[in-house]
């Protein structure tokens, strides 16, 4: 349906026009903005509900990435000795744990956002059948709730940097635009998966698998510099590739021996994230009118 809410000049009455929906619709940012408080409340609900009746509460948001990091460090550094091969250098350089965590930081957000948002529309079936609001708010709120976890896991990063004595340099500020990039990528893929999941519940089984494959396709336990030059841009089509490498640069570039920024790879990843964003949101808009009927 084309629901345009325009304020007429003679009165402050919004006007709602209901018509059959035809073709691809742009995202109605104005309407989303009007519903920003709802986005806030749904995000808040997600967080509240997630940590209700848990003893540790929000502490889980910190413990989870921390434990993942410890496990991966033990396996890949202590057991497999991957760190020496990866960093190339003679073992001096930044600790593998920090190298890992710099990548896990955006990755865990991305993976969490994918898992939660892909289920979000199906889980809100009772809502979508009883009340109208811009449906995009639903996957957005899921991503928003995971973003709060991400903010908390930044505390772990601070702790790690203090522990290993890594002083942040100016590039650390790049975390903010990089976070924006990762949110854009997560929203795009999340919206796409959540809409597909409504019609084809197959995606419930696809998503965990997808996330697992994506984990290995992203330079998390490996580094992009292990890939030969011309293949790099192909690998960087994965939006999380450039973003993860970007985080490493932002966090590690000030510590010797430094971390180079592969700006070409970053550029490709950002473009890819933007494409996924446009495709995901457009597709969502196209099918959202049928959610209530087929959910």
């Amino acid at each position: 349906m084309v629901a345009s809410e325009s304020t007429t000049a003679r009165s402050e009455m919004p006007r709602v026009v209901i018509e059959p929906r035809k073709g691809w619709l742009p995202v109605n940012w104005q309407e989303l903005w009007q519903h920003r408080e709802l986005l806030y409340f749904l995000t808040w609900r997600d967080i509240k509900v997630r940590y209700k009746q848990t003893v540790l509460g929000v502490l889980w948001a910190i413990l989870q990435p921390l434990m993942t990091m410890v496990v991966l460090t033990v396996i890949f550094k202590s057991l497999l000795g991957v760190d020496r091969r990866l960093m190339g250098s003679d073992g001096d350089g930044y600790p593998y744990a920090v190298f890992l965590f710099a990548g896990l930081l955006p990755w865990q957000f991305f993976a969490g956002a994918l898992k939660r948002s892909s289920d979000s529309v199906v889980m809100s079936a009772p809502l979508t059948q009883k009340v109208y609001f811009p449906r995009l708010i639903i996957p957005m709120a899921s991503v928003g709730a995971v973003l709060v976890d991400f903010a908390l896991s930044l505390l772990v990063l601070v702790g790690l940097m203090l522990y290993y004595g890594i002083a942040p340099g100016l590039p650390i500020l790049a975390i903010v635009p990089l976070a924006l990039g990762m949110v854009v990528a997560a929203l795009g893929v999340g919206a796409l998966l959540s809409a597909l999941n409504v019609a084809y519940r197959d995606f419930r089984y696809v998503v965990p698998f997808l996330v697992q494959i994506w984990f290995y396709a992203t330079p998390l336990i490996w580094a992009l510099n292990r890939v030969q030059g011309r293949w790099r841009l192909l690998v960087a089509l994965n939006p999380m590739c450039g973003i993860v490498e970007g985080y490493r640069w932002a966090i590690l570039s000030s510590a010797p021996p430094g971390w180079p920024l592969d700006s070409a790879a970053l550029g490709v990843s950002v473009l890819s994230a933007l494409c996924l964003f446009v495709v995901g949101l457009r597709y969502f808009r196209r099918v959202e009118g049928q959610f209530a009927d087929i959910i």
Binding site: M1, R15, E37, V49, T128, Y132
Partner: protein, 446 residues
Amino acid sequence: MDSPAIKVEGLSKRYRIGARLRQRNFREALTDAALAPLRRLKSFGRSSHREEDSIWALRQVSFEVRQGEVLGIIGPNGAGKTTLLKLLSRITDPTEGRAVLNGRVGSLLEVGTGFHSELTGWENIYLSGAILGMRKAEIDARFDQIVAFSGIEPFIDTPVKRYSHGMRVRLGFAVAAHLEPEILLVDEVLAVGDAAFKRKSLGKMGELQKGGRTVIFVSHNMASIKNLCTSCIALDKGRIMASGDVADTVQRYLQAFEPVGDAGSGGGFSFEVPRPEPAPEAYITRVELLDEDRAVARRLETRACFRARIHFRSEVASGRFSLRLSLQTLDGAPLILYDMEQTGGFHLACDPGDHFADVVMPELPLAAGHYVIGAAISVPHIRLLHNAERTGEIEVSARDAYGTGSPLSSQRCFVAVEHFWQVPDDDEGLREMGYGPKGSAGPADR
């Protein structure tokens, strides 16, 4: 303002239903299952499908509602009332047509929309309020009023999962009642809660109307339609069958859906049900009320034994069916809706042919008066096959079931069940007074 608050032109909604059910062999079923994903991939997002696979829930509906009007919408089950509300509240897209609404739209299709049972009362007030379209500032301003209206102040910090059903409903309605859109779409939410709360809710609806709000109100309850609405539309099979003046429309609707059967020629309660077209795999053929000798009853009494025999015909081999008995007031308010699967915990397995089953109530809990009896047959948990919900009108005769000389009549209340009175006695305990439970029921003699 001269333009109408709501203008609806040729609004239609088509729903897709699965391909007509037919007997399939295993190989066909397998190919079907294998091809299903392909078929679905092709059809997603496209509205073109074969006519026989879809039904029009709403067809070419047009009307206007002026600002400040309260429009009632009535119709039998499946007439398209809820679909109309869902279209107007933008929950689903129309297939054809157009509607224009001038003003903020609030829709109340259920009580407690958006409640999350893990959250506390006050958290849910904010959540539900925001979902229904209130701004945080508005909720802040009305928070105390909402809590006071709901009457559950002591439990406001308790998770809603520990609330009783009644408390949830109160809180849900309290939030909804403080929504102040220019246009309000309401679906039967008044049919909940106890009498005092219902009065409060109806009062609130009256206030809304006086405040110049435009309301569309869907209900089965003719009494509240008559009380609240300024105009009315009766829907049948997705089309408008009558509209205009409230009393007039209600009258025409009730006439059109007058019970099909009449207390049969012999004066007994036996109702033939016409064969539905097209005939589903099983359908109701006759509903009879029997007396203690299993002959067709000629008289029904309050709190006497009641036996209804539902006859049905099955057209398929080894079908699984569940029967349903319903008793409604003449206005269509459901009093009893007992489903074999739901209240009996079993279903029937039948081969082709005629079958029947009896519903027995040792004491018919209805006051003297006229009621509408109905029956339905379904495939348990899957779908309704045939709903003969207004099969016939029955009369329950006055019987002094409580032995006081003044039998209950449906003019004052519908339900008559076993109960007794107690008053404080000298030992600060309670003492039964009057006829008590023993004498009240009496043998079901005739």
